[in-house]
């Protein structure tokens, strides 16, 4: 009975969505979009691109025009990691036991892989204003290296205090850089460094600095979440 009811409601909702999208003039068909009619056309105009100076236009939106949104997003991630720590974190913690005993080869091989993952993630973070990627995917890669160490080494326990310190440091520096925009320029998160030539590594003003801080913050937050999931209460 519940399955039938759910199916009926689901079908009705899907039909409503499709009909609502088909009958409006505001919603163009797939692939027939004119960007100059949208607000995105302004982000693609030459003045705005040169003002931010980032070669990756997605980064120029995320960190250039909408830095305040990104601050809110980082705050949401921070609150969710805080909530995970609040729900799962108890006083006496030990790491969860694996069902198998990792051998020597697995430990050494995971260390080699760890170096490659870390180098790639820092490359992605540092080139966020030039190529696809940036602080968020790079930070997730840093956290994945911590997960790799947890799975490959049964004695590994990440330095959770260090991660908390790094997270707080990166987050407060992010806000301080934004506040300096009020001093050297006119607005919160205004770009007060020279933007340089588009496509150069040292360009786009404060965008690379902010993206590095976001990468460190996201990496340490997700690593903290992983640590909370892979530890359990010590049973005496």
């Amino acid at each position: 009975m519940r399955k039938l009811f759910g199916l009926a409601i689901t079908f009705a909702l899907g039909l409503v969505i499709i009909l609502a999208l088909n009958n409006t003039v505001n919603f163009p068909a797939f692939g027939e979009v004119n960007l100059s009619e949208r607000i995105s056309g302004a982000y693609l105009s030459e003045d705005n691109v040169e003002e931010v100076g980032s070669a990756n236009l997605v980064t120029s939106i995320v960190i250039g025009f909408r830095t305040f949104d990104t601050l809110g997003e980082v705050t949401v991630l921070f609150i969710s990691s805080l909530g995970v720590a609040f729900i799962l974190g108890r006083k006496k913690q030990k790491r969860m036991n694996l069902n198998f005993k990792p051998n020597f080869m697995l430990r050494v091989g995971s260390n080699i892989l760890l170096a490659i993952i870390l180098v790639t993630s820092f490359y992605i973070i540092l080139h966020g204003h030039l190529s696809p990627g940036g602080g968020f995917p790079g930070g997730a890669m840093i956290a994945s290296s911590v997960l790799l160490l947890y799975l490959a080494d049964d004695r590994f326990r990440s330095n959770i205090k260090g991660f908390k310190l790094l997270e707080g440091f990166a987050g407060s520096l992010f806000v301080i850089i934004g506040l300096l925009g009020l001093v050297f320029a006119t607005a919160f998160f205004a770009n007060y460094l020279p933007t340089g030539t588009i496509g150069n590594f040292l360009s786009a003003g404060i965008i690379p600095i902010i993206y590095v801080l976001i990468g460190l913050k996201v990496g340490s937050e997700i690593a903290g979440i992983i640590d909370n999931f892979l530890t359990e209460e010590e049973r005496a």
């Binding site: 689901t10 797939f30 607000i39 030459e46 236009l57 990104t70 949401v76 991630l77 696809p132 968020f136």
Partner: protein, 112 residues
Amino acid sequence: MIQYASIFLFVLGLYGLFINKNVIKLIVSLNVMEIGLFIFIISIGYVGDNAIAPIISNTQDLGLIYVDPLPQALVLTAIVIGVGTTALALAIAKSIYNTYQTFDLDEMEESA
């Protein structure tokens, strides 16, 4: 056409939310809904077959046709928030399991 696929994913996730009683399956259904929404938002920004990724090498490139960068930026935001909410939901599921020794909502009601 891909927009209908994303709507299908969205309503599939909603159907999963209706019929499942397992907490983990509910979280997976929420994630399926979320992915449907992401694909839908990305598909809004598709401009045409000759459009390229919105990455320029110099300002002369601005005359080319790019896909819409704004939906991509919004989805970048939404994915990170999705990771956060999924982590929080899984943490709640783990603490539910520690209390009731089950993931099933019906069995939870019986034991309560």
